[in-house]
């Protein structure tokens, strides 16, 4: 593949379930920069039933913003860019539109290969509709009938460590082979085999006439090792293939991308993994992307990525799924307005009917932000189960230490003020220790990930530019002190030599001014054996911190965060916290 290093302009189109965005990157002063974006409603549904119209409208919008023409009179991309300034040199695309894949997972043992297959399925826009394992004791014909009735888009079959079980795996595949035999070619699901590689030839010879077979390296090469990376890439390809078959316009988009179309979540995961390598830290990098189609949680530790895609926590038509998965009371705890459970459920159902509709009043905004908090909270708690083994946790049920948290998605990127965005992130993720909050306001992360596959230089240079907003450094001590007790002493020495000292009490949210572009030396002394991630509970130290749009945020509200049951008290606290962060 030709490197993009020689290219001068790159266009990336991201087709989401609600919005299609077009992003232009260009070389300015010998470095890649994000130039502008255009957006339009996605047109996969009625009345267009073809994503091409949304892509064209997004490009039209980008044309209005930049004055640049991207599509010729023949309705094709002008590529490479011409001397008159029209067109682009390279093109990439991501996609997340459409119903999640309906997946059946197959594995030998429930808590080993089946669990890994489930982890793999959660790395793309998929819904596991059935699992089959040796333990379920169903006969082959019962399994066969189940598959035929569910009509899955894909079957993910795992099982057998390397050079381990073979006959039992083949036996499990019997029902799938029979289902394929009984279905017309075009209705057969894709079958991704990710088990014992030694039996791949036998599977191929036995089932190649009855299954649409795909292979990837074993996701469970040994009992104690899970290896999702290569299978994740193959699953992503399969997702795009299924999208191509069922969503008109995807084939054309992929042709523009020269076959390089990737799922939006995959591209987002790439950026987070990439950042984790760049930051060269023992701690990881966390990425959260809360969109209409799914909540995506990507955590990477030294390049080892864990990716979780949770369609049930998307803020679009799938919102009603959240009501099924989460007790309504759990969502209510985030509310700062007086609302009955029934009214909240009505709101969710109406929002799902009109997923592109927007909150106008403060009350509606409060509801949508409560839903966003719960979606991120629930998705993160599920994702943590698949985080790499090298993640270090400050305590049970808490998030591991992270060096940076990158957040994006319309509800965060387009919130009325940065304080609201920061508070949503802090409440739902509840980071521990010292971390930095980064907001991708332009929602370019996935676009960068799509571009980074071909040219990491572009991703590096754009990430180093000011395309992402640094909200601020967060200090969140973890410990068991009583509310009101002092838990942290800090002294900050600014570049100017000025000093600021603060004794932080448990239960508070404080901000110490430190503008973007400035750094300071921060001396931390935890009290009451509180842990700020400096090696052990009670251990302090000195570190250099960068400023941000909100300054240095000290979140000592406790981990896990427990909010008052009383609405008035909760409302007062939120008013105070928002004011502290500079919002309202």
């Amino acid at each position: 593949m030709t490197s993009l290093i020689d290219a001068e302009s790159l266009l990336v189109v991201d087709v989401g379930s609600v919005t299609t965005r077009a992003f232009l990157f260009e070389v300015v002063d010998l470095r890649y920069r994000f130039i502008a974006s255009g957006a339009a409603p996605t047109t996969a549904g009625a009345p267009y039933h073809n994503i091409s119209e949304g892509v064209r409208l997004a490009l039209d919008h980008l044309h209005q913003v930049t004055g640049r023409t991207f599509v010729g009179t023949d309705e094709q991309l002008i590529m490479p860019a011409s001397a008159d300034g029209s067109g682009i040199d390279k093109f990439a695309a991501t996609i997340s539109v459409g119903e999640p894949l309906r997946v059946v997972i197959v594995g030998l043992l429930e808590d080993i290969s089946l669990e890994s297959a489930r982890h793999l399925a959660s790395t793309t826009y998929a819904k596991v509709v059935q699992s089959i394992s040796l333990n379920d004791h169903r006969k082959t014909d019962t399994r066969l009938n189940t598959i035929l009735r569910l009509r899955p888009d894909m079957i993910i079959a795992a099982g057998g460590i390397e050079n381990g079980a073979s006959q039992s795996v083949l036996k499990l595949l019997e029902a799938i082979g029979l289902a394929g035999y009984l279905q017309p070619d075009r209705q057969r699901p894709e079958v991704l085999f990710i088990g014992n590689q030694a039996i791949q030839p036998e599977i191929r010879s036995t089932f190649e006439n009855t299954m649409n077979l795909h292979f990837a390296p074993n996701i469970r090469p040994s009992l104690d090792r899970e290896q999702l990376g290569p299978a994740r890439a193959e699953l992503a390809r399969n997702y795009c293939q299924v999208c191509s078959q069922r969503i008109p316009g995807v084939v054309e988009l992929n042709t523009w991308a020269k076959g390089g179309l990737v799922p939006g979540a995959t591209a987002f995961g790439r950026v987070i993994r990439f950042l984790s390598k760049e930051l060269t830290t023992q701690k990881g990098v966390l990425g959260v992307n809360l969109g209409a189609s799914a909540a995506i949680i990507a955590a990477a530790f030294n390049g080892d990525l864990s990716l979780g895609v949770f369609p049930q926590f998307g803020l679009g038509t799938s919102l009603v799924d959240m009501i099924d998965q989460v007790p309504v009371r759990d969502i209510m705890r985030w509310l700062t307005i007086d609302l009955s459970e029934d009214d909240l459920i009505d709101y969710v159902y109406n929002k799902a009917l009109y997923p592109t509709s927007l909150p106008v009043s403060l009350e509606e905004t409060a509801i949508e932000q409560a839903l966003a908090r719960q979606a991120l909270y629930s998705a993160t708690r599920l994702a943590v189960q698949g985080f790499p083994g090298q993640a270090v946790y400050p305590g049970d049920g808490l998030l591991p230490w992270f060096e940076a948290i990158v957040s994006t998605g319309s509800i965060l990127a387009q919130s009325a003020n940065l304080a609201q965005a920061a508070l949503m992130i802090l409440d739902s993720l509840q980071p521990c220790g010292v971390t930095t909050l980064v907001l991708d306001q332009n929602q370019i992360s996935s676009a960068l990930g799509a571009a980074a596959a071909a040219n990491p230089v572009l991703a590096v240079q754009v990430l180093e530019s000011n395309s992402f907003l640094h909200l601020g450094t967060v200090i969140a001590p973890v410990g068991q002190a009583h509310a009101g007790s002092p838990i942290l002493r800090l002294k900050m020495t600014y570049e100017s030599g000025h000093e600021a000292s603060l004794e932080v009490k448990k239960g508070t949210l404080e901000v110490v001014p430190l503008p973007a572009g400035q750094t300071a030396r921060l001396q931390l002394q935890p009290l009451h054996r509180c842990d700020v991630g400096m090696g052990a509970p009670g251990r302090g130290g000195t570190l250099r911190v960068s400023g941000g749009a909100l300054g240095l945020i000290i979140d000592s509200r406790g981990r896990p965060l427990v909010l008052p049951e009383d609405l008035k008290r909760r409302k007062d606290l939120y008013r105070k916290w928002l004011w502290t962060l500079g919002g309202q």
Partner: protein, 350 residues
Amino acid sequence: MFAPMKCILPMTIIRRQRILPVAGKVLVRAGQKVGATETIAESNLYPEYLLLDIARGLGVPADQAETYIKCQVGEQLAEKDIIAGPVGIGRRIVRSPRSGKVVVASGGQMLLAISSQPYQMKAGLPGEVIELVPERGVVVESAGALLQGVWGNGRIDSGQLSILAKTPDHEIVSSDLDVTSRGWVILAGYCNDPEVLKAIDDLALHGLILGSMEARLVPLAAKSPVPIIVLEGFGKQPIGSDSHKLLLSLERRDVALNAENRNVLTGVKPEVFFPAVVPSTINPAPDFISLEVNQKVRIVRPPFTGEIGVVEEIKGITAFPAGLRTRAARIHLENGEHTITPLANLEVRT
């Protein structure tokens, strides 16, 4: 400008493609007149197979079992028919446990397709079959009044319209229904009473059209065998004045309810349809109408949820009190008031 659309049309021509989820058999012919509840195609949506271990049943090795099999692939078997045997001194045999068709026999095993009731797809509206889609379904054309809703429970039926909702803000309670309701399609306003949904089952109503419904009743409504269509949304909302006016004028007329659930991707919406004989010059219902000045719209979000009005002006980026900045429109509401609403919160009504 792109916006969701809902048809409220007193007279139109509609064409609806009715397609089976999997390949099956089309039971009607082009040009045929069909009723809303008439089966037009069928398929084996929920197939059932039995895998019989013949070798084990006969007590012989798998490679020998085939020689004892008495039936052939494709053969229809009745329950208790002998499939294989006899073998040995005990004259062991294998009988068919259910009636079905032999699909394949190999390796000492036999796969039997069990005879089952096929899924039957109804026409959904009365009209004429104007196109056949081989093995998948048909296109039905009809003329009359059309109202689209936002939620349906998947059922189809037809009957005559009886109106309980004399005003758009009507609220139905179970005592509104009695034996005189039996067999009717009822129009009611807002439903917050689970007993209403139980009563419509007991009274064998042919349909229930609601202005709005509490979302917590969705699981109960989804199970009802009676078609239920919600016109406007969830929570207490009045019936749109345009829908209500049209429905009042159609009292006691024949009506067909296709309560298919709304699907943003496919464009399917639950529909209330009143067949009528109309001149052939009537225009078909549009698939899409752009949002423009003078267009009739309904506001789908607070603080004016359910209000109908006309677009007076499409504005640029506008700031709203809670901080939202987005493109908006100035709407002249039916009550004479004006409001500025995000374009994203408008539904085009035609």
